[in-house]
């Protein structure tokens, strides 16, 4: 009985203490933080650096933006991260940022106007940072494109209104003619539906103010100097500027035909695709660069963690102007062009997906392609050997650098022979030792 009472008490304590945690508002404090718009190899990552982090990370020889701001921060115990309340308080701190190397100031940064320009649209990962007049110009270009789009949109709405009226008239005319007994093809001209204007295919963020930082590889310190010459307390941070360990290669994302939701990456040139049985694989190539895991994770958000001894590949850009080849040694087995595919849901008890080529029928039925990719089929007719898949620039016979990946079709059924193979040193030893014994008198 006593044990039940103790258990109930313990559960009650746990519930009450948990309730306490939930009810307790995190303590907010006013702090200087650096807001970061850091180039991550492909695009820009936005984050902020709380006082708990003493180091900022940037990629060398690329522009990133930092800004010193006063805001409320609080520690969120569930995620174990500091959060910033920029909506409650967001005060840009005046002054200049000094960059120090070996204790000496090597650069003093003034706030500049900048914009992030997305040439492939807002949702694309690709972005470029422009500053000063170029930033203004890019934004103005975007604004005028948006205004032009808005004008076209207004025109479109007007055309649609007219179209609907004409269409209604058309339907009315048809109805009247049918009611009057007219049959067959009528000679009434059907109104043409107007097409909506294409949205602006690029995007530029509203120009903002910040300190643009572009440094070569090295370790630095930064600090914020007030207009009165003082150094802002808590503004001193270390800066690690790093570069990619390997760059210029091609990485692949593979969509296995039988599990389209669980994709594979074959980024590192040393990685090998091992296959058993029949497989249909969809390859998506990317330009990529390799960065230190800790540095890159911290660049994306200084509160992230990572391992300094590990490396990660970052996909910079999808590659779509190439064709791929599957070869065995020098012999080319398949040449594969990029094509659209459609993922069809399989109804019924065997719920799942099926990837099929996107064709005119799907187009006429109003479906859009689910993805575009390079399809490689590894049939069971292929002997279990080593194959190579690689990307070639259209119109060229040269492989893109570091684009080759090995595919090995395995003989899984022979796995049990692995243990007997391990005995061969012992057999060798027995022969050597026996031959020695025969030469010794006993």
């Amino acid at each position: 009985m006593r044990i039940y009472v103790i258990a109930i008490c313990l559960i009650a304590i746990c519930i009450l203490s948990a309730g306490g945690v939930g009810a307790q508002a995190p303590a907010r404090r006013e702090q200087l933080v650096y807001s970061l718009t850091a180039f991550d190899g492909a695009s820009f990552s936005k984050s902020f650096c709380p006082p708990s982090e003493d180091t900022l990370y940037f990629i060398a020889d690329n522009s990133s933006v930092i800004d010193a701001r006063k805001t409320f921060i609080y520690f969120w115990p569930i995620t174990r991260r500091y959060m910033a309340g920029f909506r409650s308080l967001d005060e840009k701190l005046p002054g200049t940022i000094e960059i120090l190397k070996g204790g000496e100031v090597i650069q003093t940064l003034q706030r500049q106007t900048y914009t992030l320009f997305y040439p492939e649209g807002y949702w694309s990962d690709k972005a470029t940072l422009y500053s000063d007049q170029e930033a203004e110009r890019r934004f103005a270009e975007y604004q005028s494109a948006v205004e032009a789009f808005n004008r076209k949109l207004r025109d479109y709405y007007e055309e649609m209104r007219i179209y609907r009226e004409e269409f209604n008239r058309f339907l009315e005319e048809m109805r009247i003619r049918r009611e009057s007994g007219e049959e067959g093809i009528t000679n009434i001209e059907m109104p043409q539906e107007p097409s909506p204007p294409d949205f602006v295919d690029f995007y530029a963020s509203e120009p903002a103010q910040g300190f643009i930082l572009n440094l070569p590889v090295g370790n630095y310190q930064i600090r914020l100097r007030c207009p009165d010459g003082r150094i802002y307390e808590g503004s001193e941070k270390n800066v690690v500027v790093f570069e990619s360990r390997r760059t210029g290669g091609v990485g692949y994302e593979i969509i296995p035909g039988n599990r389209w939701t669980r994709r594979e990456s074959v980024d590192d040139p040393s990685w090998i695709i091992h296959g058993a049985g029949h497989n249909v694989l969809y390859f998506n190539p990317y330009h990529q660069a390799e960065y230190n895991e800790l540095y890159h994770n911290k660049l994306e958000d200084p509160q992230n963690s990572g391992r300094i001894e590990r490396w990660k590949w970052v996909h910079i850009d999808p590659i779509d102007d190439v064709h791929m080849v599957l070869s065995r040694g020098e012999e080319i087995l398949q040449q594969i062009e990029r094509a659209p595919y459609f993922v069809k849901q399989i109804p019924g008890p065997e719920l799942g997906y099926e990837i099929i080529p996107y064709d005119d029928e799907l187009l006429q039925r109003g479906y859009q392609p689910t993805f575009e990719s390079y399809q490689i089929e590894l049939s069971t007719n292929l002997p279990p050997e080593e194959y190579t898949v690689s990307a070639l620039q259209d119109g060229s016979a040269e492989h893109l650098p570091e684009s080759e990946r090995s595919i090995r079709l395995l003989r899984k059924e022979n796995a049990n022979y692995l243990y007997p193979i391990a005995f061969f040193p012992l057999v060798f030893g027995i022969v050597v030792i026996l031959s020695r014994w025969t030469r010794i008198d006993r």
């Binding site: 708990s52 982090e53 520690f75 174990r80 360990r245 390997r246 593979i254 296995p256 039988n258 599990r259 594979e264 990456s265 074959v266 590192d268 040139p269 040393s270 990685w271 090998i272 695709i273 091992h274 296959g275 058993a276 049985g277 029949h278 497989n279 694989l281 963690s305 391992r307 300094i308 279990p384 050997e385 080593e386 090995s406 090995r408 079709l409 395995l410 003989r411 899984k412 022979n414 796995a415 049990n416 022979y417 692995l418 243990y419 193979i421 391990a422 005995f423 061969f424 040193p425 012992l426 060798f428 030893g429 050597v432 030792i433 020695r436």
Partner: protein
Amino acid sequence: MSNRGGVVKTLFKRDFVYTFYSWGFYVVLFAAFMISSFILKNFLDGIREEDILVSAYPLNYPLFISVIVISIYLVMLSGVSISREREHGTLEVLFYGPVTAGNFLISKYFKDLCLGIIALAFCAVYFYLVSLTTNLGFTAGLVRALVMGVFMISCVVCFGLFISSLTGRTRSSVLVLLAILGGFLALQFVHAALIGMEREALSTPMLYLRETVSHLFRGINWVSPFAFLNRGLDAVVLDSPLLFGLNIFYAVVYSVIFLILSIISMSLKGVKA
């Protein structure tokens, strides 16, 4: 051949040949290959029928394990090679004659290195047979890893010889080796654990401890032969000729330094246990 060369060759030949007349070498290789077979069997079982598995050279990991097992055997073998001869008195008998610390150590070094090379040749045969059986690739990367393995084994052997040159008895050598390698391993473990922790979760003394451990870890990276092994095989995976060459250079420098230290230490310590 010069007098010294002749002595080195004779000492080398005796040690080298007689290692093959005992079971140790074969049992170690057998153990390494059994572990490798276990890993590879699991790898193959991990690929379902009509599916793929992406991995780095799958033979590299078992090769790495095999090289580690062989290295542990060689570090122990070289680690007791001088102290055992001191303890058994055979070193003293050799030094009655025209044998010097230098040619004795060089013969021991080449003996252990050649044993390592033979062990790697066994690895090459094993992995080739595995490759024939399963079509797991016997790649150029594997050949590069085997070549790099020779230089890594050189570091391991020189480290073992150095420890052996400091100690008078086999048991002391083994204990010192175990203590040092255990220390390296423990430090690596503590470093990994501390680095994995959030700064927020660490008190000030723990932060200092983390800094200290980090510095020690960096230092150990240039002292522990197994760190050289890691870096060398990393260079193979990275497929960078520069890193490959650089790691070979580091391994050669490391070996020369430890060999010289061993000769000095052996001359100072003498022939008696």
